[in-house]
C-alpha cells in the first residue's frame, strides 16, 4: 500500500492519474437499477394477479371445493378428488398442502371448505365438525440389510430419546444409530410424539430432521444404520418396517387395533351443509371411496 502510494501519488503533476478508473461497486446481475426495480414490480403484480385468480375461496361457485391441510392426507385426497372429478366432470376440487394446523385454521376461517388434518384436534379446535376418513399406521423403518425385526414401544421411545444410541444394544455390530425424525409441527411427528413419546419424553435434538416422509424414507433406504418413522402407506420395498411389540404393521393389525402406532386422518369443516362439499365427503365415506383409500395403503374407517 505504502509503496505504490509513494511511487505514484507522490509525484506532482502526474496527469495520467486522471485516467485511473475508480473502483466502483460491481453490478452483480448486469441489470440497471431501473430494470431491476421494474422487474420486481412486475413480478409483484403478476403474483397479485395470480393470487386473485387461483386463490382458494376467492371464487366460491357451487361446483368448487377447496381442501387444504395435512401433507400426509394430501396425496390421498388428490387421488380421491381425481376419481371423483372423473365421475362428476363439472366439479373442481383444489387440494392444497400446508400442514394440519394450517388446514384446521383454513377451515376455521372459512378460507377452505374442508381442512385436512392428520392429528387429533386440540380442545379449542373441537368446535369444528370432524369427519374421520381413514386410519394410517406409522411404521418404524430401518434399512433393508438391518437384521432388526421387532422393537418394543419402550425401546423405540428410548432410541428417539437418545437413551439407546448404539446398534450393539440389539446384538448387532456396534455402530451409532442414526435417528431420523420429522420437523416440529408435522402431522406425522405429532402423531408419533403422542403415540410413542408420551407427555414427558422429548425427541432428542441429536436426531436428524427431514421435512417429508419421502426424504426420511430416502435416507433410511440409503443408510444401513438409520432408523426413522413414516406413514405406513408410504413404506416401499426399499425399506423394512419393523414390528412393534411383536405386531407387524399390516392392514389387519391396524384395523383390529392390535398395532399401536395408528393415527386418524380427519377432514374438518366449520359446518357441513348439503351441497357439493357434503357430496364429496359422502363419496369418501362410501365403499367406493374407502376401497380407493385402502388400495393406496390406508385403512378405511368402516368395518
Amino acid at each position: 500500500m505504502q509503496y505504490y502510494r509513494h511511487a505514484v501519488d507522490g509525484r506532482p503533476g502526474f496527469d495520467r492519474m486522471a485516467k485511473i478508473p475508480k473502483y466502483t461497486y460491481p453490478n452483480l446481475r448486469g441489470f440497471s437499477s431501473f430494470r431491476r426495480c421494474s422487474i420486481l414490480v412486475l413480478a409483484l403484480a403478476c403474483l397479485l394477479v395470480w393470487a386473485c385468480l387461483v386463490g382458494c375461496g376467492q371464487k366460491k361457485s357451487s361446483e368448487n371445493i377447496c381442501i387444504a391441510g395435512s401433507t400426509s392426507v394430501q396425496p390421498f385426497a388428490e387421488k380421491l378428488a381425481e376419481e371423483y372429478m372423473r365421475e362428476h366432470p363439472r366439479m373442481r376440487i383444489d387440494i392444497q398442502g400446508g400442514g394440519s394446523s394450517a388446514g384446521v385454521l383454513a377451515a376455521q376461517q372459512g378460507v377452505a371448505d374442508l381442512g385436512a388434518s392428520s392429528r387429533e384436534l386440540t380442545p379449542e379446535e373441537k368446535k369444528l365438525q370432524e369427519i374421520p376418513i381413514a386410519y394410517d399406521g406409522i411404521a418404524i423403518i430401518v434399512n433393508k440389510v438391518n437384521p432388526l425385526n421387532n422393537l418394543s414401544l419402550e425401546q423405540i421411545r428410548q432410541i428417539f430419546q437418545a437413551k439407546i444410541t448404539n446398534w450393539s444394544a440389539f446384538g448387532q455390530a456396534p455402530h451409532p444409530i442414526h435417528v431420523i425424525t420429522r420437523e416440529e409441527g408435522s402431522g406425522t411427528r405429532n402423531a408419533f410424539e403422542e403415540l410413542v413419546m408420551g407427555e414427558h419424553a422429548e425427541i432428542s435434538p441429536v436426531a436428524l430432521v427431514q421435512d417429508s416422509n419421502g426424504s426420511v424414507r430416502e435416507i433410511v433406504a440409503n443408510d444401513p444404520y438409520a432408523m426413522g418413522y413414516i406413514s405406513m402407506g408410504l413404506v416401499d420395498p426399499r425399506v423394512k418396517a419393523v414390528a412393534v411389540d411383536g405386531v407387524p404393521p399390516t392392514r389387519q393389525t391396524v384395523k383390529s387395533g392390535k398395532y399401536k402406532l395408528v393415527r386418524r386422518f380427519l377432514l374438518v369443516a366449520k359446518e357441513l351443509q348439503p351441497g357439493p362439499c357434503n357430496a364429496f365427503v359422502n363419496y369418501i365415506l362410501s365403499p367406493e371411496g374407502q376401497s380407493l383409500l385402502e388400495s393406496e395403503g390406508l385403512v378405511g374407517v368402516g368395518d
Binding site: 473502483y23 461497486y25 437499477s33 416440529e184 435434538p205 430432521v209 443408510d223
Partner: protein
C-alpha cells in the same frame, strides 16, 4: 415535455414501490417476531439451545452456532479457491481464456440451489458417510456445497477488483525488477484489497442466507455441533423447515429467527459497503 415528466413520475413511483415493499417486509418481520422475543426474553431466546416450540421452548443458540460454523466452513473452502481463480483469470490469463472462462464461472451462479442440494445428497453425502463416518448429512457436507455455491460471487467481484487496479502500478513494479508474482502479491493484491474483502463478505452473505441446499444436506439436527461430521440446523433451514406447519407462538418464533438472520446479514452488508466506500 409533459410525456417526459410523466415517465419520470412513473419511474419514481416504481422505484418507491420497490423500496416500499422492502420496508414493508422488514416491518412485517419485526411486528411478527418481536412479541415472542418479549415473551421469552432476549437471553432465553438467543442463549438457550432448547428448541421445542410446541412445548414452549424457543432457544436458537444451536442454530446460530451452526449457521456461523457452516458459513465459516464455506469461507475456508470457497475463498482461497475463488481468490486463486480470480488471480489467475485477472493477472495470468491471455484475453481469450478470460473471455471464455469468466462468463462460464458466472453461469455457475445461475444454477438453482436445489440442484446443488440434490448433487450434495446424491453424491457428497454418501461419500462422507462411507469414508468419514457419521450420517453423512453434516456440517461438512453443507460447508462444501456452500463453498462451491459462493465461488461465482467471490470470483467475479474479485476479478472486478483486480482489473480495477491501474496497469501503472504493475508497470512500476516490473520496472523496479519485481517478478510477476511479486507484483501481484505485493502491489496488485494490496491495492485491490478492499474489493476483495467486499467479495468475501458478499460471499459470506450468500452462504449464511442459503436455505434449500443446506436443508437437503445438513441433516437439520438441533444439537450444537461437536464435530464437522455432526448434522446441524442453520437459522434459515429452521424457518423453511417449520414455517409450513407453524401457528401461534411457534410462528412468531420463526419470525424472530428471521429477525436474527436479518440483523446478521444487515451487519455483513453494511460492513461490505463501508469497506468499499473507504477506498
Amino acid at each position: 415535455m409533459k410525456k417526459e415528466l410523466f415517465i419520470e413520475r412513473v419511474l419514481f413511483f416504481l422505484a418507491l414501490s420497490s423500496i416500499g415493499s422492502l420496508l414493508l417486509i422488514t416491518v412485517f418481520i419485526f411486528l411478527e417476531g418481536v412479541p415472542l422475543i418479549a415473551h421469552t426474553g432476549l437471553d432465553n431466546f438467543l442463549f438457550s439451545s432448547h428448541w421445542a416450540p410446541t412445548r414452549g421452548h424457543f432457544g436458537i443458540l444451536a442454530m446460530i452456532i451452526s449457521s456461523v460454523f457452516v458459513t465459516l466452513g464455506a469461507m475456508v473452502l470457497g475463498v482461497p479457491l475463488g481468490l486463486a481463480c480470480a488471480i489467475v483469470l485477472a493477472e495470468f490469463s491471455p484475453q481469450p481464456v478470460k473471455t471464455v472462462l469468466k462468463p462460464t464461472l458466472e453461469l455457475l451462479a445461475g444454477i438453482p440451489s436445489v440442484v446443488y442440494g440434490f448433487l450434495g445428497v446424491v453424491w457428497l453425502v454418501p461419500l462422507i458417510r462411507d469414508y468419514l463416518g457419521g450420517p453423512g448429512l453434516s456440517l461438512l457436507a453443507a460447508a462444501v456445497i456452500l463453498g462451491i455455491m459462493i465461488l461465482p460471487t467471490v470470483i467475479s467481484i474479485s476479478i472486478d477488483a483486480l482489473s480495477a487496479v491501474p496497469d501503472l502500478y504493475r508497470d512500476g513494479s516490473i520496472a523496479l525488477g519485481a517478478t510477476n508474482w511479486q507484483t501481484v502479491r505485493r502491489v496488485v493484491l494490496p491495492a485491490a484489497s478492499s474489493g476483495i474483502i467486499t467479495a468475501v463478505i458478499l460471499g459470506m452473505g450468500r452462504a449464511i442466507g442459503e436455505t434449500m441446499a443446506v436443508i437437503m444436506v445438513a441433516g437439520n439436527a438441533l444439537k450444537i455441533p461437536t464435530s464437522i461430521l455432526d448434522p446441524v440446523r442453520t437459522l434459515t433451514s429452521n424457518i423453511a423447515l417449520e414455517l409450513a406447519y407453524a401457528t401461534g407462538r411457534h410462528r412468531e418464533a420463526l419470525f424472530a429467527t428471521g429477525i436474527v438472520l436479518f440483523i446478521i446479514i444487515m451487519i455483513l452488508n453494511l460492513t461490505a459497503t463501508v469497506i468499499t466506500r473507504r477506498r
